[in-house]
Assembly symmetry: C2
Homo-oligomer: 185 residues x 2
């Protein structure tokens, strides 16, 4: 896992913000030459594929400033410092959707942009959902709208680019695979 | 697509590098309050699911400085300014693997980290592969090692976290779905 390792000679912090940090590393390449690496540090995040009793997927619509548009995504959120991903998943599901999950299982984790960022997303599947009477409210600067959609609608939204991000596209594909492997009832 | 739009009042460039730019936007939220948004600008990228005549997937191992480890990934690379993604896909496939594709089809595009970055990855499927006699060489600061693996091996590598990034995990899942939907021969 250390093949082609790039040793850091010097690291400079450019920015330290609320969500990300940016640092520039001077590294020695395997051939002895030098190069600069631009690195975004991120606390990591969770995302939740939540399926209700009608077999519908819970989605949230949210404005994404970097894209200057809103997207339909599975519920997600950043890890707080030192927080277990499972705890984050339960918290974000409650804050963004008002649901608690009777069952929450880890599916997969993946780096989103390994070329320039260390963001790792932990993907969970939540089932046996129950509406919470007085759910906790999330960040005050987050505005989301809730949707409960079928897998067929989700596939359609991927084609229409209303669903347009990696974690949600992965979630839709995963549910398609699960459906394809389940014998018809 | 503009639901919950956040209007920019002020935008400040913090860093303008070789691959990414960082800017901080002051925005007005839907409720009239103000917030700061940390935004990484990225030129976008392509990734290629390349399948050879033995039904093996072409993978490259590469050191990823932000993670301080190497990953096994499908071939990928950044868009050059003004470049068509299809052209980038053909170029990156040649530079990283030495293959040309008789057939190159667009599968899906997705944003990798819509919360803090505008990186959009265009995913292609390449088949009818031919080894090129004198392939173009890629960036001189890129060191990659080539692998040709079966779908079963890829699934195993996902479990072992040797494959550990969103685009490659998506590619493996896509091939699993394709296999599940293809009647046994």
């Amino acid at each position: 896992m250390k093949k082609f390792e790039e040793k850091t000679i010097h690291s400079k912090e450019i920015y330290n913000g609320k969500i990300i940090r940016l640092q520039i590393d001077d590294v020695v390449l395997p051939d002895g030459n030098m190069a600069k690496r631009e690195i975004v540090k991120h606390p990591g995040a969770v995302a939740v594929i939540a399926i209700n009793d009608e077999n519908k997927i819970i989605m949230v619509e949210q404005y994404r400033k970097p894209l200057e548009r809103s997207l339909l995504e599975i519920p997600a959120g950043k890890l707080e410092y030192g927080e277990e991903p499972l705890v984050t998943a339960e918290r974000e599901l409650e804050e963004e959707t008002g649901y608690a999950a009777g069952k929450m299982e880890h599916l997969i984790s993946f780096y989103t942009s390994p070329g320039f960022a260390d963001e790792l997303i932990h993907l969970y599947i939540a089932t046996d959902l129950k509406k919470i009477d007085n759910p906790k409210i999330g960040d005050e600067d987050e505005f989301v709208e809730l949707y409960e959609i079928t897998l067929e609608e989700a596939v359609q939204y991927v084609e229409e680019k209303r669903i347009y991000d990696a974690k949600t596209a992965y979630a839709v594909l995963y549910l398609q695979l699960k459906m394809a492997m389940t014998p018809n009832e």
